[in-house]
Symmetry: C2
Subunit: 339 residues, 2 copies
């Protein structure tokens, strides 16, 4: 099969890779219908994380073409959505809603779903079948559910977004924009999107943002405080993962408020004393997307939400190198790869 491989940082190629096979009776093989490039794929692309002939990709939707002997919840022919960690969905951690930290979790990034086929471990726990074969225009939204929407949604839930709440979203990438959409669906009264890019501001407004703040860091915090009667927001979604964005999130939150952070923290050190006196709630981590998939698929299927709009560029798999470049150079927010 054809699949994306990062030979070295910055060097993305589409190569022939071995077809996946069932390795455990709990595995399934899917034919990938669409995949995409994640903001986190840029860490190895830019050399911050290692890359050495690494298969890439952890977002996927597709059709089950083979199942292991122990698989019961999905069958050949099902159209399915999974997320970036395979999980059994039965252990204590999964049942508490933290499938991304399942005791048997397997990172899909190690398998590489930017490919024609993919092996899905723990298929019964990992995959959720759609009610039928999706219309073509639903594919981008279902693919968004696989990662960015599920992650933005988790951030909103972690930030305890709800009716009557003022929500700040730090980060205007696909996850931040999905966080705006989630905040709107969860009933937030006011949604302040922090963004300096006009096209992303427009999509943020379309997804439900009521206010746009272009300032960052200290100035951004000052504007948020001004907009919230000097107190800070009830809920803040952090979707970047840098020291500046984390501190901007904490400082934009009122005492007793909630920060939901989903940007993978790189070189972040939280100062204990400032965090202590902030009196905020802090929760985040790798999003347990699986917890939200059934609900998100339903909202997409009913056309209540259209999160696929975060994809502003679509390319065939063979042009993956262009997709990475567009993400790296920020000429695209999020690139969908067709197969």
């Amino acid at each position: 099969m054809r699949g994306v491989v990062m030979v070295a940082p910055g060097d993305v190629r589409v190569e022939d890779r071995p077809d996946p096979v069932i390795q455990e009776p709990t595995d399934a093989i899917i034919e990938v219908a669409a995949a995409c490039v994640c903001g986190s794929d840029l860490w190895p692309y830019r050399g911050v994380d290692d890359a050495d002939h690494t298969p890439m990709g952890h977002e996927y939707v597709g059709t089950v073409v083979e199942i292991g002997g122990a698989v019961e919840n999905v069958k050949v022919g099902d159209f399915v959505v999974g997320s970036f960690f395979a999980s059994d969905n039965t252990c204590d951690i999964c049942r508490a809603g933290y499938q991304s930290r399942c005791v048997h979790a397997e990172p899909m990034g190690a398998i590489g779903t930017q490919a024609q086929f993919a092996r899905i471990p723990l298929a019964d726990g990992t995959l959720v079948a759609t009610p039928g074969r999706p219309a073509a225009d639903l594919i981008p939204s279902l693919l968004a559910a696989s990662d960015v929407l599920g992650t933005g949604w988790f951030a909103a839930v972690a930030a305890e977004v709800g009716p009557g709440k003022t929500v700040v979203v730090v980060g205007d990438g696909a996850v931040g924009l999905s966080g705006v959409l989630a905040a709107k669906e969860l009933g937030a009264e006011r949604i302040i999107a922090m963004s300096r890019h006009e096209d992303r501001q427009a999509l943020a407004r379309e997804f439900g943002a009521t206010d746009i703040v272009a300032e960052r860091g200290h100035d951004g915090v000052a504007v948020v405080r001004e907009l919230t009667g000097g107190l800070g927001a009830h809920c803040v979604i952090e979707a970047v993962g840098t020291q500046e964005s984390m501190m901007q999130a904490v400082r934009s939150t009122r005492p007793g408020g909630h920060v939901g952070y989903v940007g993978v923290s790189h070189d972040v050190e939280l100062p204990g004393l400032e965090l202590f006196f902030s009196a905020v709630h802090l929760h985040g981590g790798p999003a347990p997307v699986r917890r939200f998939l059934p609900h998100l698929i339903e909202l997409i299927w009913n056309r209540t939400i259209d999160p696929g709009k975060v994809f502003d560029l679509t390319l065939p798999l063979e042009r993956a190198a262009e997709a990475y470049r567009a993400m790296d150079e920020r000429t695209a927010t999020k690139v969908l790869l067709t197969l």
Copy 2:
């Protein structure tokens, strides 16, 4: 009046200080019935924080002897309990339960309650009257409610302690021990107290601890993991405030679990990436003791709880220097000062 003054780090004296007077119509003056020395008083005592002829003390119970013209909720003669921040109890932050971060908060430590009398700002919001004149043996418990019990209780609530939960308590000082008591009252199924001191272990058991772990740091975490099926605890109370204790708390918590931290963080830096992948909830800060005071006073008045047992040394105010020394040298867990 007589009051405790820290002339310089390590130099505690009882001196004549001016009698307090009503400065604002929202003030009350109380005659202090009992005060005590706090673990946090040891930071200036040891020179980590500054001290220069500083009036000391922020824990207090006593009788109202004078009120300003705007005070309505307490009257002269009431026996009252307050906490270490004066708060209006009416602003948005107070109404959300974060009175320690009230928009008009005033730290009682700046006033100094280790004294015969004390001015209480925002008396209506700050003070809670007991149902009557307390029996002498209830005074220590009411005084504990003023700080250590309220703080331990907040930590347990922040850690989302409840029925069926396994709780770890890091720190065996008066706050940690109060956290054990709170966890028991809040219905925890299993309470693991981390303590190396026999007398504190005994009180932890009396307060409801089901297990004692004497190991610390990496070894302590390993024992907690072993006791919790490899997963970590649902809830962890952190009541120390050092880098080691914070990391011990985070690492003792299962993914999706809750850390409630109330040890005032000194030189703590939380590593972002580890915190991210821990997937824990983190909440804490200066405890909004006022939120819990009415309930705690009721539990004490009904003799449901006896948190006053954390006081293992009682001295007259004039011997405050000895009290500080005993706390510093750990010959006492918590010292009550009589007046």
